[in-house]
């Protein structure tokens, strides 16, 4: 496990040493495909690397650290649907195309869905349609897509309406569809949690650099105890998220467990970027500094895949049920 981590992290850091290296979406996409990341979670017997969720979890954190733009997350969801769903004639071909980097996409919303939030629907060859009783892949020309500009420009989201006679490959139906949806929710939440964790670490790093490099009243900002204590609290929360993420992603998770993880990591990310902007002072409010990019992504991560209120409430109900079961 730690060897796999080393290998994946090393290659990620070589290709994407920082957010600027991943700034161009189509370049970054090509790099991700070339690194073989889309094969990581796919079992070896159907052409993947067989590194499972643990391998994916490492990649998710790297994507967040480098703010990698583009529809990477949704590609993983489509691939997972193809792997976990019922096999069909064209399945292997589609899977191979997806693993090699042909863009396919899916919705990033969970819970009260005010929007589908389908990433890069205009560039994808296929769109994964997730309904309660059926999960299907439709070809892009079977959908009307409408761009929804986001504050976080690293994520291009779309609303999608499917035309009636769209060509579709059914991946799961009925009870199986519910199971697959659960699995996809799980994966999405892990992905967002990892993205948040990697982003939080990077945002704290930028902030520390700023505090150490900038002086005020003839001292480095990093010497002011009130500021020290704030970054110490962030470090404590990030390390806690780190341990939580490592622990949960080493097991097989339910959607609720993944949602809980997502909630915690995203809350830590948000706390981090909120303080990071303040600790940057005025320059943090200008587009010349990178911190606002992390800020906006942190907020979007909170809202995607079910927001904090959604998952906290589910976790609370589960805790009540657990307590009643014990009594």
């Amino acid at each position: 496990m730690s060897e796999m981590r080393q290998t994946l992290e090393d290659s990620a850091r070589k290709v994407f040493p920082n957010w600027e290296a991943a700034r161009d979406a189509s370049d970054a996409w090509a790099q991700v495909a070339q690194l073989g990341w889309f094969m990581v979670g796919v079992p070896e017997k159907i052409g993947g690397l067989g590194l499972g969720d643990e391998g994916l979890a490492i990649i998710f954190a790297e994507l967040g650290r480098a703010l990698v733009p583009g529809p990477v997350l949704t590609q993983f969801l489509v691939i997972e649907a193809l792997v976990a769903g019922a096999p069909f004639e064209e399945r292997d071909g589609l899977l191979e195309r997806a693993m090699s980097g042909e863009i396919m996409t899916a919705s990033l919303a969970i819970g009260g869905r005010s929007s589908e939030a389908v990433m890069d629907a205009d560039k994808a060859s296929h769109i994964l349609l997730r309904r309660e009783d059926v999960v299907a892949l439709i070809s892009q020309d079977g959908a009307q897509v409408k761009a929804r500009e986001t504050w976080d420009v690293s994520r291009r989201l779309f609303d999608v309406a499917v035309v009636d006679d769209a060509q579709r490959y059914v991946v799961a139906r009925g009870q199986k569809a519910a199971q697959l949806n659960d699995r996809l929710d799980t994966l999405l939440c892990i992905a967002l949690a990892g993205d948040a964790l990697g982003g939080a670490r990077a945002a704290l790093g930028l902030t520390l650099d700023h505090l150490k490099g900038r002086s005020q009243f003839d001292r480095p900002l990093a010497m002011f105890q009130a500021l020290k204590h704030r970054v110490a609290d962030l470090k404590m929360m990030i390390d806690t998220a780190d341990a939580f993420y490592a622990d949960r992603t080493s097991q097989s998770l339910t959607a609720l467990e993944a949602g809980e993880l997502k909630n915690f990591c995203c809350a830590v990310y948000r706390d981090t970027v909120e303080d990071a902007i303040q600790l940057h002072g005025g320059v943090g409010l200008t587009t010349e500094y990178a911190i606002h990019r992390f800020f906006k992504r942190a907020f979007l991560n909170c809202a995607l895949g079910g927001d904090a209120d959604y998952w906290n409430e589910r976790a609370g109900r589960a805790a009540m049920a657990e307590s009643q079961a014990k009594a």
Partner: protein
């Protein structure tokens, strides 16, 4: 309240019902917003509501602080545009020139302000942050001019300003404060370049000013050479109470935006959400009361050191809480980009409001600086020894 004041309130309310622009939020560009500000200021000047804090000899001047308060209460109530573009002119430039300027300077500039000449403030510098005494922009005497070279930052709407209140360094000897001089600079002077700052929410409310051997006539100096620090205090002290009162009241009025947001997402009966809304509403009411009290203290000459820090910190923290709740209730909807509304801190465009709220926790003395002032100057906690600074600087 006296009948006179009630009449005054009724008069301005009637006027606002007729005249207050209702379309100012639709300005699609910063230029259009600035144009709407100019038009609104002209209207207010004509009606005698633009400069109530100026002396009586000016049209609309000579108002008591209580009357000024009524004006701003009514402006908030009518949801009229905030006066942003003429703010530095009517408060900072007026206070500085009126208090410390020569007769000629007063003649030259104060009339022009009412005619629409706009000012910006050239105080902050890239590496000075909250430490104003650390400025480095240099002015060298050359005959009857100063030749100024350096850089200013965070100058509100400098790209639209005609004139600049400029703080420069004329000496590096002795205490840092002693080497500062105060100039009035024409923004059209050769060597002045203004670059708007791209803010993270898409606004360009601030600008950088680059100064490359700009020649400023010596008679444009305010106060003596080396007296700039003292003159700058007059600038900084010029307005503290009314704005925070106005802003607090506007935030109070904008609570309806959060309530509407809650209804829109179908959570109007979510007890947890209602409690959070209620707690925010109570907090805003408390901050409004604090801002009112602060203004009353000013009226009665009872303001204490640190009071201004308390009000600013309280408002800034509350404004953040306001935006935070909006972002939360909006969920995914709040993450879709909507065009920003210039000059509105409580627009209901939640991510924009959230980012805007940092202007109040960072600019004009950050929360951290305010906390130092409160702790050391109100609560009597000891400062760090000077040697600390010295050792690091060495």
């Amino acid at each position: 309240m006296s009948t006179d004041l009630q009449d005054f309130r009724a008069e301005i309310r009637q006027w606002l019902d007729r005249e207050a622009p209702t379309d100012w939020r639709s300005a699609a560009t910063h230029d259009a917003f600035v144009e709407s500000q100019r038009a609104w200021f002209r209207k207010l000047v004509a009606a005698g509501y633009a400069v109530p804090h100026w002396p009586e000899r000016w049209p609309g001047g000579g108002r008591t602080l209580l009357e000024q308060k009524i004006i701003y209460e009514e402006l908030s109530r009518a949801d009229a545009p905030r006066l942003l573009l003429p703010f530095v002119s009517t408060y900072h430039a007026y206070a500085t020139i009126g208090e410390c300027g020569t007769q000629e300077q007063q003649e030259r500039y104060l009339h022009a302000i009412l005619d629409g000449e706009t000012w910006c403030q050239g105080f902050s510098e890239p590496n000075a942050g909250s430490d104003l005494a650390a400025i480095r922009t240099k002015a060298v005497r050359d005959g009857d001019h100063y030749v100024v070279t350096g850089q200013k930052i965070w100058s509100t709407m400098a790209q639209y300003a005609d004139m600049c209140l400029l703080l420069v360094r004329t000496s590096t000897e002795g205490a840092k404060q002693a080497g500062m001089t105060y100039l009035l600079m024409d923004m059209d002077s050769p060597g002045v370049t203004v670059r708007p700052i791209h803010q993270i929410q898409g606004d360009e409310e601030f600008a950088e000013i680059f100064l490359d051997e700009v020649r400023v006539p010596v008679d444009q100096r305010v106060g003596a050479e080396g007296a700039g620090w003292a003159v700058a205090q007059a600038t900084l002290a010029s307005e503290r109470g009314l704005t925070l009162m106005e802003l607090s009241y506007r935030m109070r009025g904008a609570l309806t935006r959060i309530a509407r947001q809650l209804t829109e997402v179908g959570r109007a009966d979510d007890r947890g959400a209602l409690r959070d809304l209620g707690a925010l509403k109570i907090r805003i009411d408390a901050v409004c009361a604090l801002a009112d009290q602060f203004l009353r203290k000013r009226m009665n000459d009872e303001e204490q050191i640190g009071d201004a820090s308390i009000v600013k910190l309280a408002y800034a923290r509350c404004l953040r809480a306001y935006a935070d709740l909006g972002v939360r209730f909006a969920g995914l909807d709040g993450q879709f980009h909507a065009p920003i509304t210039f000059g509105d801190l409580n627009s209901g465009n939640w991510m924009a409001d959230f980012m805007n709220s940092y202007a109040w926790t960072i600019a004009g003395g950050s929360d951290e600086v305010q906390r130092n002032i409160i702790a050391e100057r109100m609560l009597g906690m000891p400062r760090e020894p000077k040697s600390w600074t010295a050792e690091v600087a060495a």
